[in-house]
Amino acid sequence: MSANEVVRVEGVSKRFARGAVTALQSIDLSIVEGEFVSLIGPSGCGKSTLLRLIGDLTEPTEGTVTVNGKSARRARVDRDYGIVFQDAVLYDWRTVAKNVALPLELAGWGRAQRAERVREMLRLVELDGFESHHPWELSGGMQQRVSIARALSFSPSILLMDEPFGALDEMTRERLNSELLRIWETTGSTVVFVTHSIAEAVFLSTRVVVMSPRPGRIANVVPIDLAQPRTAATREDPRYFELVTRVREALHIGSDREEPLARAVER
């Protein structure tokens, strides 16, 4: 493992239902510190499963997952990563502040420390002033920001995100994309980001991993060489459109066997 390799997935396969369903087949992936890696692909390609394997929320049938030089299980127990789901998964019975403080409570932080960190985090996601609100009083976008604040509260070096903005409208999504990049720069963490959206993947990432289904595997990896920091102007850069097209083509090639119709419609 090279010095700053953060995630290493080697020869990983995952089968469900007593071997009847192969979600992932022989996956090899290496992620370096500070990267923003997107996993993109159609339904059934295993991207969410791969994310969960990295987070030790499920175990590989074959192969190994190494995180920060340790086993995925050890990394989970050591709280090396924070995770954000498509649903904000906030507890209705806790205020925003208490929701963000949840992992800190579980880690045994003292009350004063928690309060301070919560304040810091909420400021980071631009929700200061909402400490005493309840989740149902917030919009979807605000809830996701709380979820991100919670994931980062204990300063993990890795952030795992499973289509976090999937349930939001386009405008909110674009705005949160910019905010996420800002947070990423500020914290210097490594992000593994699962998404359905090509535009989002290209805008956010340093690398896009294109996956294809049946069985789930990595079809292609597209490095994104757009300038940092990315802004609204980036979305109008010709290079951006080129990269979007490249990713789209990689997706089609990957699922070529299954969806020849898509190509025909494209033409």
Binding site: F16, V21, G44, K47, S48
Partner: protein, 275 residues
């Protein structure tokens, strides 16, 4: 939406069949508990010398039950008729009420606090009064009324919930077809409500038998099950009393099972039945 199955185990929810399991194998723990329970009961009485008249052995109850079966059966049948009558009456009125309240929402909001208050009233306390209404309680009618009132609320609440918890999109769809209220009820609300109705009917089935037996305490025909059980308890024939209790249980379970079977037949098209 997650594409792949989430590997975290989701505990099945739903009816008894769902939580216990359809396979015969899943019922083994329940059977084991039954056998274990009976054995402990039998042995504890022997070991602790628990007096027979307080807690008879299961075997004695079983033999008593068998010996006395025709007496018990007639008494049980009599009481069961009261329960059944109350069940039918209370449920029917409750469903009608629910239909009206679902159609004219205003009455629902107006009556809500009273419904909640009425639900908090110990209905059984009215048993002496209903006895007065119907020739001193010798006939079945007074217990039928008690059982009916007990059945009314669970069926009303559940049916109403079923009629009103319709997906707004489904309603919008019907309105886009310019469907009238009657149509909406027939095609959307009522089918949606059926699982809820059966949920309520199952609760009512159990309550009706309890209502009939308990109502008989305040006065009933001499050949009614509740009167019989109490009579034997008072004269310290506890084995015979327990045998009567056992029969009351059986009738209650039978009514519940009847409703469950009816539910299974009616809701064959539904993907799941609620508890």
């Amino acid at each position: 939406m997650v594409d792949e199955p989430i590997p975290v185990e989701v505990i099945p929810r739903g009816g008894l069949g769902r939580s216990v399991g359809r396979r015969l194998r899943d019922w083994i723990p329940a059977a084991a508990v039954l056998v274990l329970g009976l054995v402990i009961w039998q042995e504890a009485i022997r070991v602790f010398h628990i007096q027979r008249f307080l807690l008879p052995k299961p075997t004695s109850i079983a033999s008593q039950f068998w010996d006395d079966r025709s007496n018990l059966w007639h008494a049980g049948w009599f009481t069961f008729q009261e329960a059944l009558g109350g069940f039918a009456l209370g449920s029917a009125i409750a469903i009608l009420f629910a239909l009206v309240l679902a159609r004219y929402r205003f009455f629902g909001t107006a009556l809500m606090p009273y419904a909640i208050a009425a639900n908090a009233i110990p209905i059984i306390a009215f048993a002496p009064i209903t006895n007065q209404w119907f020739s001193g309680g010798i006939t079945k009618s007074s217990k039928i009324v008690i059982a009916a009132v007990l059945c009314f609320f669970p069926v009303l609440v559940n049916t109403l919930r079923g009629l009103t918890s319709v997906n707004p999109r489904a309603l919008e769809l019907m309105e886009s077809y310019a469907a009238g209220q009657v149509q909406i009820f027939r095609r959307v609300r009522i089918p949606n409500a059926l699982p809820f109705v059966f949920s309520g009917l199952k609760v009512a089935a159990v309550l009706s038998m309890i209502g009939a037996v308990v109502g008989e305490y305040f006065g009933g025909a001499f050949n009614a099950l509740g009167v019989l059980i109490l009579d034997r308890a008072r004269t310290f024939q506890f084995t015979a009393a327990w045998a009567g209790v056992f029969l009351a249980c059986l009738f209650g379970i039978a009514l519940y099972a009847g409703v469950a079977i009816l539910e299974r037949l009616t809701l064959r098209w539904a993907p799941s039945t609620s508890e």
